[in-house]
């Protein structure tokens, strides 16, 4: 299971390894690498066209900057989870997400983009930490910010019985490899099955699911 994998080596891909970085905050126990077909397919879908604008919600990291700009693309980096914490924490995170004033402030800070300014967006598992009204609002803004025909990559936990999930920072180690560093454990607002995800992205042109061996659903959405 995804949560358990944070404590034990992954079943496929390289063994646990520390993410290189000069800050030295991470330890091998907090980081693991995993193979990601979704990531591989996502970047294959984008093709080799340089100059694409890619939104990344993982928060800035050398790995993501190097990988995305190394493809000749332009990265827009946002630490979505940190901004969620800033706007809705501490206290009851999901109750705070019902407050219209806070929601509006959050949306303006995080998704105040012009229409159709991104070719692709890496959302990771951030949608799971949004209560329904905020989730709908975020998706509406994203729908506006990403060009028609653009791609999104989202990740959902497939085990619908877990109560708390690890919040990771996702780092791109290669075209099909992710490094995950643990940030926190948190109860998700909702766990999504395939039907829920289809409903969530009902306006999308196409959806592609990858059910991974570590109980995740990686979903590529074509806007």
């Amino acid at each position: 299971m995804f949560r358990d994998r944070a404590k034990s080596p992954p079943r496929h891909g390289p063994e646990q390894q520390p993410v290189p970085g000069r800050g030295g905050r991470l330890t091998p126990a907090q980081v693991y690498s995993r193979h990601s077909h979704g990531l591989e397919e996502f970047f294959q879908s984008l093709g080799s066209q340089p100059g694409l604008n890619v939104l990344d919600w993982a928060g800035v990291s050398q790995a993501n900057v190097d990988f995305i700009t190394g493809r000749g693309n332009r990265l827009y980096s946002e630490d979505f989870y940190r901004l969620l914490e800033m706007h809705f924490g501490p206290g009851d995170w999901y109750a705070s997400q019902q407050d219209p004033a806070r929601v509006e402030s959050f949306l303006d800070a995080v998704l105040g983009f012009p229409s159709a300014c991104f070719d692709a967006a890496l959302l990771w598992d951030m949608l799971e930490y949004l209560a329904p009204p905020l989730l709908e609002a975020v998706l509406a803004r994203l729908n506006d910010a990403v060009k028609p025909g653009g791609y999104l990559l989202a990740i959902f936990h497939a085990d619908e019985k877990i109560e708390r999930v690890p919040v990771y920072q996702y780092r791109i180690a290669g075209p099909d490899t992710l490094w995950l560093s643990l940030r926190a454990m948190r109860a998700p607002a909702k766990l999504f099955n395939n039907r829920d995800i289809e409903k969530l992205f009902r306006h999308a042109r196409a959806l592609k699911f990858f059910l991974t061996r570590d109980h995740l659903r990686e979903v590529i959405v074509r806007r």
Binding site: G21, V60, Q62, T69, G112, F113
Partner: protein, 190 residues
């Protein structure tokens, strides 16, 4: 007996004082630097300084105070110290950020964002180094090196910064231009 000796003691000051050998005062200890020592040739703006306007430097610049406006260090390095607070657009050959920057940054060669730094703005640079723990919100545009064939056309003063969009303007206008420039080209706005 003990008492008599005590009574004798006050009489001593009346005797002429024995001159003590003159001792030179020890040299004052060198002042402990409260700030990191700067190499020679680096202009520094301290943490208690606040500037509004335009800064142009032809030497390396260490900035640990507050600046609102524009900063240009086209052929040298700009270091924003840990207390530095910039509300400014920045152009430099090389930028190192340890403090806080709110504004667009153009670093012709490289930008180095250290772990305690906070940068909100769009970055245009040849190379970027980001430490874990740094906060960044904005876009990163890596500008590939110009082909060498263009080098002879550059002035003899040395390597020139990437294409400057416009001649220097008043500070307010420069800031406004920097923040508004990306949007027409489809850049995301913050």
């Amino acid at each position: 007996m003990w008492k008599r000796r005590e009574e004798e003691l006050p009489a001593r000051p009346s005797s002429p004082p024995v001159p003590e050998p003159v001792r030179e005062a020890p040299p004052p200890p060198p002042a402990k630097p409260s700030e990191p020592e700067l190499p020679r040739g680096v202009a520094a703006i301290g943490k208690s300084v606040k500037i509004k306007g335009q800064i142009f430097s032809r030497e390396d610049l260490y900035l640990d105070g507050e600046v609102e406006g524009t900063i240009e260090v086209p052929e040298h390095r700009l270091t924003v110290g840990p207390h530095g607070r910039l509300q400014a657009s920045v152009k430099a050959r090389e930028v190192v950020v340890l403090g806080s920057v709110n504004g667009n940054v153009e670093a012709a060669e490289k930008i180095d964002i250290r772990k305690e730094a906070k940068l909100v703005g769009d970055i245009k640079t040849g190379r970027i180094i980001i430490e874990d723990g740094a906060y960044f919100k904005g876009s990163i545009d890596i500008v590939r090196e110009q082909p060498k064939a263009q080098a002879p056309q550059q002035p003899a003063r040395g390597p020139a910064p990437p294409a400057q969009p416009a001649p220097s303007a008043p500070p307010g206008a420069a800031v406004q231009q920097a923040s508004a420039a990306p949007n027409p080209s489809g850049d995301p706005k913050r």
